[in-house]
């Protein structure tokens, strides 16, 4: 029995795990504005290209990570878990954290560039619109399993309105979503 089988990889081989790690490593360096901005590409890869999970599992994974305490990045661990158990968690987490962490480490240590240099300001300003576009894409992709249900659309719009207009904690909104969903989205 191989180590991959011992770790419960759901039938994925080493080549699949390597591809998974590689894909998330590339996304690590593209994650401008937080890891959640790469969710559309994760969904395209895991659901569309590889068929390792479906829309509903993907959105549920993000919802579970948002409902739990801790950094939002942990939705990546849930993806890995769904795809290939513990080995999948290692592949996705080491991928999404590796390259960006090495870069942060190096910049923090050796290259403490001034945040007001024109190059850095142009970089941040030039990427801000992309972050907005990526966040909207993430929201759109997450509605894929439910956007045909009027109640789910109402939940999305209600959440947007409430969190823009008030300082209500996301925890309460997620809890309300669970109750409404259990009653009306079965």
């Amino acid at each position: 029995m191989s180590i991959a089988a011992l770790l419960g990889t759901h039938g994925l081989g080493w080549d699949d795990l390597l591809a998974l790690w590689l894909h998330f490593s590339v996304l690590s360096l593209l994650a401008v504005g937080g890891a959640i901005t790469t969710a559309p590409d994760m969904q395209r890869y895991l659901v569309g290209e590889q068929g390792w999970m479906d829309d509903a599992q993907f959105t549920a994974g993000v919802a579970i990570a948002q409902a739990a305490p801790g950094p939002n990045i942990l939705f990546v661990a849930v993806m890995g878990w769904h795809v290939a158990g513990v080995a999948g968690v290692l592949a996705t987490m080491l991928g999404i954290m590796g390259p960006s962490s090495l870069l942060a480490f190096a910049v923090g240590r050796y290259g403490r560039r001034r945040a007001d240099s024109i190059g850095l300001r142009a970089f941040t300003a030039g990427l801000t619109p992309l972050t907005l576009g990526l966040l909207l894409s993430t929201g759109w992709v997450l509605t894929a399993p439910t956007r045909h249900q009027p109640m789910a659309v109402a939940l999305v719009l209600g959440t947007v309105a409430l969190s823009v207009a008030s300082r209500i904690s996301p925890m309460w909104l997620i809890a309300a979503g669970a109750v409404v969903g259990a009653l009306a989205l079965r």
Partner: protein, 204 residues
């Protein structure tokens, strides 16, 4: 260094402390991670600036800016740079492990529990509702961030065009993110650089 006193406790308002050991770093970051529902950054500010008094508000903003400019998960970048600054690479590892280990265990237990009950219509319905709220929360973040675009040197029309192009290509056409971010990101950076240059030369 200047420590702001507005949020400081009454005793020794100017004295900043230092994390003494990797164990202390692990404990503080673990505690703030477990308090962070739907995002850890606000809790990080309270823990590092107000409770532990390891950083002045100004130092925290500088650290936050650096962590956000760099690619990758912001809070992880922040923990890495912070831990490394005080206790070297061991500190960086301790802070990161503190953020991730226990919350990851909790999340995976939840995910495994969900998998076991995914066929239950109540559970499936609850997760659909939570997923819809998660989507709404992320769209709301975009709306809130869009309000800051007023100060962007690119100006509103260019920002809207770049943002819409990104959303259409990645969200709707489902093109791979690598090409879109490298292409549009380079375009946005060059345009912003030219605008900033022009502003600097026309300013007195």
């Amino acid at each position: 260094m200047v420590a702001e006193t507005t949020t400081a406790p009454a005793d020794a308002p100017d004295a900043l402390r230092c994390p003494r050991s990797c164990g202390e770093l692990f404990r503080v970051f673990n505690r703030l991670a477990l308090q962070g529902f739907g995002g850890v950054l606000p809790v990080a500010h309270r823990a590092l600036v107000e409770r532990e008094r390891w950083q002045s508000p100004q130092q925290f903003v500088e650290l936050l800016t650096l962590s956000q400019v760099l690619p990758g998960p912001n809070i992880i970048n922040m923990a890495l740079i912070f831990g490394d600054r005080y206790l070297g690479w061991r500190g960086a590892l301790a802070a990161c492990a503190g953020l991730l280990l226990v919350p990851m265990f909790i999340v995976l237990v939840l995910a495994a529990t969900y998998q076991q009950h995914a066929d239950n219509p109540w559970v499936a319905g609850a997760l659909r509702g939570m997923g819809a709220v998660a989507a709404g929360l992320i769209i709301a973040t975009a709306v809130k961030l869009a309000r800051t675009v007023g100060g962007n040197p690119l100006g509103l029309p260019l920002c809207a065009a770049l943002g819409a192009a990104t959303a259409v290509m990645v969200g709707w056409l489902r093109w791979p993110m690598v090409g879109v971010v490298l292409g549009l990101g380079a375009l946005g950076t060059v345009l912003a650089w030219r605008r900033l240059r022009a502003l600097e030369t026309t300013a007195p």
